[in-house]
Amino acid sequence: MSDTALSSDKIGVGTEIPSLELPPINRTTLALFAGASGDHNPIHIDIDFAKKAGMPDVFAHGMLSMAYLGRMLTNWQSQAKLRRFSNKFAAITQLADVITCSGKVVEMIEQNGETIARCEIQAAKADGTQTLVGEALVAV
């Protein structure tokens, strides 16, 4: 186990996942993520394209914030324990938004012979607007 993973025997309903606050979204982050993720959709990196598509400016990839949620989950528990990870993209993340990822265990369930913590997770802007809302299933 990595040093950052907490002991799993203390996990139960109400356990909070240590939150993750990200630096403000900027154009460099979007350019790097476009290259690294393979999502070359110009709407995230080319302001001319974004404006033609009716958007005020480029905006963040939804998958960037989902990757941030993934960081939060795997900083909490080893990825080897992650069984399912899903979310809806509820609002667009704009440049300069400060995203915070958070989550908590809402139910303990038995599935395929394992005890699983069902966690509600979200990414939100500083004003509280939820951008991603979803859930993760983590074996304990």
């Binding site: 186990m1 990595s2 950052t4 993973a5 990200l22 630096p23 982050t29 790097l32 993520f33 290259g35 690294a36 993720s37 393979g38 999502d39 070359h40 959709n41 110009p42 709407i43 394209f49 033609k52 598509a53 009716g54 990839h61 939804g62 998958m63 960037l64 989902m66 990757a67 941030y68 993934g70 960081r71 989950l73 795997t74 900083n75 080893s78 990825q79 080897a80 992650l82 069984r83 399912r84 990870f85 899903s86 979310n87 809806k88 993209f89 667009i92």
Partner: protein, 146 residues
């Protein structure tokens, strides 16, 4: 209205080499600080046989298809009107640096809301490694602004 007769369409399968450098670049791009994703010794100490691909990297396998977002041409869609509505990953195994992952995907469903102002396409994908082991599945919901 997008062509609903394409529900059930299977896209050509393809394979992608999972490169160590690409995983490190991905880790850098998302500001990852956990050494498990950038340092092979840390990865092995944590019980991984090589650098693990992070949880959302399955989507990057999709994006490395020979044709970028092949649904665009199939359904005659305009890229500028595409939004990501939802994403669901199921983990059965683990994708590692050095793996060759074969992806298969199909259109699971299509529907609309708001009187057709928004159309939804649900894609289902599966990921198998070089040993024939199914390592993950995904469902992606795409929103199309009409």
């Amino acid at each position: 209205m997008l062509d609903r007769s394409k529900i059930g369409h299977e896209f050509p399968s393809f394979s992608v080499d999972i490169e160590k450098g690409r995983l490190k670049f991905f880790a850098k791009a998302i500001g990852e600080t956990n050494p498990v994703y950038t340092d092979e010794e840390a990865a092995r100490a944590a019980g991984f046989k090589a650098l693990p691909a992070p949880p959302t990297f399955m989507m990057s396998v999709d994006l490395d298809a020979p044709e970028f977002l092949p649904m665009l041409s199939l359904l005659e869609m305009d890229l500028g009107r595409v939004l990501h509505g939802a994403q669901d990953f199921e983990y059965i195994g683990q994708i590692y640096a050095g793996d060759t992952i074969t992806q298969t995907s199909k259109i699971l469903d299509m529907f609309d809301k708001k009187g057709g102002a928004l159309e939804f396409i649900v894609l289902e994908s599966a990921y198998t490694n070089q040993d024939g082991e199914l390592v993950g599945k995904a469902q992606q919901t795409i929103v199309y602004r009409n």
